[in-house]
């Protein structure tokens, strides 16, 4: 027996948007992609948005945000903005290859949309890569993110037009990190759905920094998908810095697939945001793969950050470490749900998870839920979650050394955040993140006005 629920109005809004703009969406793209889109929109229609009773979306109800009046665009617009402006912001002073996405579309300052290095490394616009490197992209695009069972991935797959493509061939290594700056800037409320695809082939190595910024005070809804393949012996580091204003809603969907002896490290640092939902899905598909998944958020006012992770240990002898931390002030709310799934075959798995949170007020709320599904019998797995306050004894100790209470509080909050920061391998980035976190804790980050942070209270 097959039951089909009638798609609701919000779902219909997007399915009809898809139908209306089909021509624009499919324009000059290869057939496989259009087929994938058709299938995905049908999946989305079938799945609908997660309901309140959906265990995985219990603490953040996202559908209402999709209901608002939002512009969806399927081609880049010519927006007036000064690229130099964003370089006033702090993170771009790192020595990196800077790639800009403006409202989800690749923005080139030089006109070049796809960079090819002599060693075969390719990076730049995904839209451009689809056109210029059809076979390469077809081999990987849509192969890692699940658009059959995940409505947000399905919706993104159906309409995403651009994003960042990164390809590292066998045995090659990036000489400096790729830095993707996602800029949101508009003259109306806008929905942005971009798609990233990072491929690190056998024994290759790459570091990627993603910075999310809002530049205007409009309501932005982002639903982005990043697919990441880490092949045998390859190593991929991704650090995401989220710094969007209080009116923004951001859903990130990160899908990592790891082969034998590969190493992946994924860190999500949420400095600011209105509502943030980060989905991280890691599949360890080869033996001896290693994965670190870290997260840190610092939120206040009415902000909400929801981190959701699934680590699948499919093969034996893999190691995963999850370490998520949160500092919640005012009436901020947060949630963490972390699932470790150890397949029957995956003996000698080591999977660890910790989630520690500090509530600075009585109104702040944190919900945390570890979830272990273990089908192998020879494994080491652990999980631990804490929700607590700043240690009064430590505060007093610092005060008795002449350190003012407020300063002592900051030192302790910073110390709490520190082990996630020290997990960042790239030294310059680690220092930069440390500085940003400390300024965020001091409430000084609001002065970085081109980030439009704190423009709404």
């Amino acid at each position: 027996m097959k039951t089909m629920t009638e798609p609701n109005d919000t779902v219909k809004k997007f399915t009809s948007l898809f139908e209306e703009h089909k021509e624009e969406i499919f324009a000059s793209e290869p057939g496989y992609l259009s087929d994938m889109r058709q299938e995905s929109i049908r999946n989305f229609e079938r799945l609908g948005f997660p309901k309140k009773k959906d265990e995985n979306y219990k603490y953040v109800h996202l559908e209402p945000f999709f209901n608002g009046s939002l512009e969806s665009r399927f081609a880049p617009r010519n927006l007036e903005f000064d690229v130099q402006e964003i370089f006033r912001c702090d993170i771009p002073t790192l020595d990196t290859y800077v790639l800009l996405l403006l409202n989800g579309f690749y923005y080139s300052t030089s006109g070049e949309k796809l960079v090819r290095q002599d060693n075969g490394i390719i990076f730049g616009s995904l839209r451009e890569a689809i056109a210029q490197e059809p076979d390469l992209v077809e081999k990987y695009l849509g192969k890692y993110a699940d658009s059959v069972n995940d409505p947000f991935v399905a919706l993104n797959t159906a309409v995403a037009q651009d994003g960042i493509f990164l390809y590292i061939p066998e045995k090659q290594e990036l000489d400096k990190p790729i830095q993707i700056i996602n800029l949101l800037l508009s003259d109306d409320n806008e929905m942005v759905q971009h798609r990233n695809l990072f491929i690190t082939e056998k024994s290759s190595k790459a570091e990627v920094i993603i910075c999310d910024h809002t530049l205007s005070e409009h309501l932005f809804l982002t639903n982005s998908v990043s697919e990441m393949a880490v092949m045998e012996n390859a190593s991929l580091d991704v650090v995401r810095m989220q710094n969007e204003h209080n009116q923004s809603v951001q859903i990130t969907n990160s899908w990592i697939e790891q082969q034998k002896n590969s190493n992946a490290r994924h860190s999500t640092i949420t400095l600011h945001g209105g509502r943030v939902r980060n989905n991280l899905n890691v599949k360890l598909k080869g033996e001896n793969a290693y994965c670190d998944a870290n997260g840190l958020f610092l939120i206040d006012k009415q902000q909400h950050v929801d981190n959701y992770t699934i680590i699948e240990h499919q093969k034996p002898n893999c190691v995963s470490n999850q370490h998520y931390k949160g500092v919640l002030d005012d009436a901020a709310t947060g949630a963490f749900a972390g699932k470790i799934h150890v397949f029957r075959e995956a003996q000698k798995t080591e999977a660890y998870q910790t989630n520690n949170n500090v509530l600075l007020t009585r109104d702040a709320k944190m919900r945390t839920k570890p979830q272990l599904e273990i089908y192998a019998d020879d494994v080491k797995c652990s999980h631990g979650a804490t929700v607590g306050q700043i240690d009064e004894n430590a505060l007093f100790y610092l005060q008795t050394r002449g350190i003012p209470r407020e300063e002592a509080r900051l030192m302790l909050m910073y110390a709490f955040a520190d082990d996630v920061i020290s997990g960042i391998r790239e030294e310059a980035l680690k220092k930069r993140v440390a500085d940003l976190v400390s300024r965020r804790l001091r409430g000084e980050l609001a002065r970085c006005d081109n980030c439009a942070v704190n423009c709404y209270d």
């Binding site: 430590a394 610092l398 005060q399 008795t400 050394r401 002449g402 209470r405 302790l412």
Partner: protein, 252 residues
Amino acid sequence: MLHIKNLRVSVEGKEILKGIDLDVNPGEVHAIMGPNGSGKSTLASALAGNETFEITEGEVTYMGKDLLDLSPEDRAREGVFLGFQYPVEIPGVSMVNFLRTAINEHKKYREEEPLSAGEFLKLMREKKSLVEIDSDLTSRSVNEGFSGGEKKKNEIFQMALLNPRLSILDETDSGLDIDALRIVANGVNKLKTKDNATVVITHYQRLLDYIIPDYVHVLYKGRIVKSGDRSLAVQLEEKGYDWLKQETGTEA
């Protein structure tokens, strides 16, 4: 320097100190002894400004100021130092960052220029030798994973760096082996000047073989029941606290 008059302190509604009178002058070393639970640590914590301890009566003047009116950090910056019985471990806060912040907060309070990195390192090196503290310890988080002896040495090291006028050392000898005890006591003695004062709180007479007190006070059930010179400590060691209980007519 320090004048305590009829100090009464309660913790969660239970009165621990029942009227303490004590005067400490520059250049003096006072020892406060007493059996467990007599209120020694409560006195130390209350003087340092721990809010868990509620002052219900009495006054404390320090250098002519109402000490009880000052925040813990201001007490520290006015020159009061508390050596903790149980120094707190603070993971993630490096010793260097902690010490430098503390010293520069003292400087700021006195409207002096903060120490440069070089000056600070020089000061650290200088004071490190005083307490024979392992260089490695200063590169770690505050007290994290330190042994009992290292924690106590670290307290004296901080005392040396902050150069207080009045040091209150709460059971600094507890948990120390004889070598560490000697080092800690040596540190305290070397820091002694005619202008500063030390209040040593201890359960055992042992420490007082190394730090020679000018006065010894016995605290029992929240009151100072006997004061004397160094010989009082020796007497206590010989006869035990039971002797005192009979002597002062309080029930055992």
